[in-house]
Symmetry: C2
Subunit: 216 residues, 2 copies
Amino acid sequence: MRIGDLSRRTGVSVASIKYYLREGLLPPGELTSPNQARYGEEHVRRLRLIRALVDVGGLSIAGTRDVLAAVDADDVALHHVLGATQKALLGTPVVADDDEAARAAKLLDDLVERRGWHVTETNPGRPAAIEILATSERLGTEVLTRLLDTYAEALEPLATAEVGAVVARGERSDVVESAVLGTVLGAGLFSALRTMAHESASSRLDAGPAAGPEEG
Amino acid sequence: MRIGDLSRRTGVSVASIKYYLREGLLPPGELTSPNQARYGEEHVRRLRLIRALVDVGGLSIAGTRDVLAAVDADDVALHHVLGATQKALLGTPVVADDDEAARAAKLLDDLVERRGWHVTETNPGRPAAIEILATSERLGTEVLTRLLDTYAEALEPLATAEVGAVVARGERSDVVESAVLGTVLGAGLFSALRTMAHESASSRLDAGPAAGPEEG
């Protein structure tokens, strides 16, 4: 199909498609004349993957490029592809070099040991979690520290179900793509549902001193 | 304290402080001369709140302004402040008007009914969840649909613990601030921990056909 058809099939504008081609996110089509190229189903699929990463995951072009490179490298293990995806989702948090960060790292390492988690030093979640816990202590809020084990307890069955849902689904390219999509879309869906669950929980609990006049 | 001291206390640059003053996020200091103002502890606290919203929550300046307006309005109920925070976190997703979106809305409404959640029509999580489920169907991935109840099950105790941790903590301004911080920092911390839990779960499960050569 021509670029216009590719645009209609995917709902992505021709200008955006040309941008992704220039940035190397989308592989070039097959040239049929010096000014015209033909695109196939693999372009439709790749474009949808790019849009999910950018629109739902909020990934930058550079982050999207990193994830796609890992997806395309045949010799990269699945968990490295997922690592690249999670790194692109979380960004690269800078951990401050202060007492709060040191205490936060200790809290986190204790949690990992207590729960028996297997987490390597390079996991991108680690610096992100440390910096957030440290920020929370600098702000004088101890809410998060108290929630750590509740979070871990909720996460264990969740992570097992999520990882289990995407592995062992046939060909490597399918597994990798669905793992990347599951990671990005799953994170977005969970946040959205959490907002709904909060409203539901708060409609039962919100009768404290902070309730406004309409709550009576 | 002067603006330079406020900058040192909070680690926020003088240029950023001036920007927040201009944008109305930070209330003006008390003028001590035509060119000089004095700032107090309330400015330290407000600056830290702004930075948590911007740095950890990734909120825009407009989103931050909306949240702070809700925090400052004395007559607004806690769950409305949380609603404004969650709306700023999730953005304003546009739901497509197609069959996939209609099926996604049905899936979601069934889930809410099945779980007995109390969720109003205006909850910002609802359109976000619908659009992600519809995107997932357009991409041919059914992983998310299968995970819906797992997510809901993980969320119920989590949301109750989170909401319970921030309500009933004394003065309204404290409750509201800690609720906003808990929402923003809690979402960030949970995502970071999830990355760690995924690695842990995947190191146990990742022995399928997608494993690269180093997995043997």
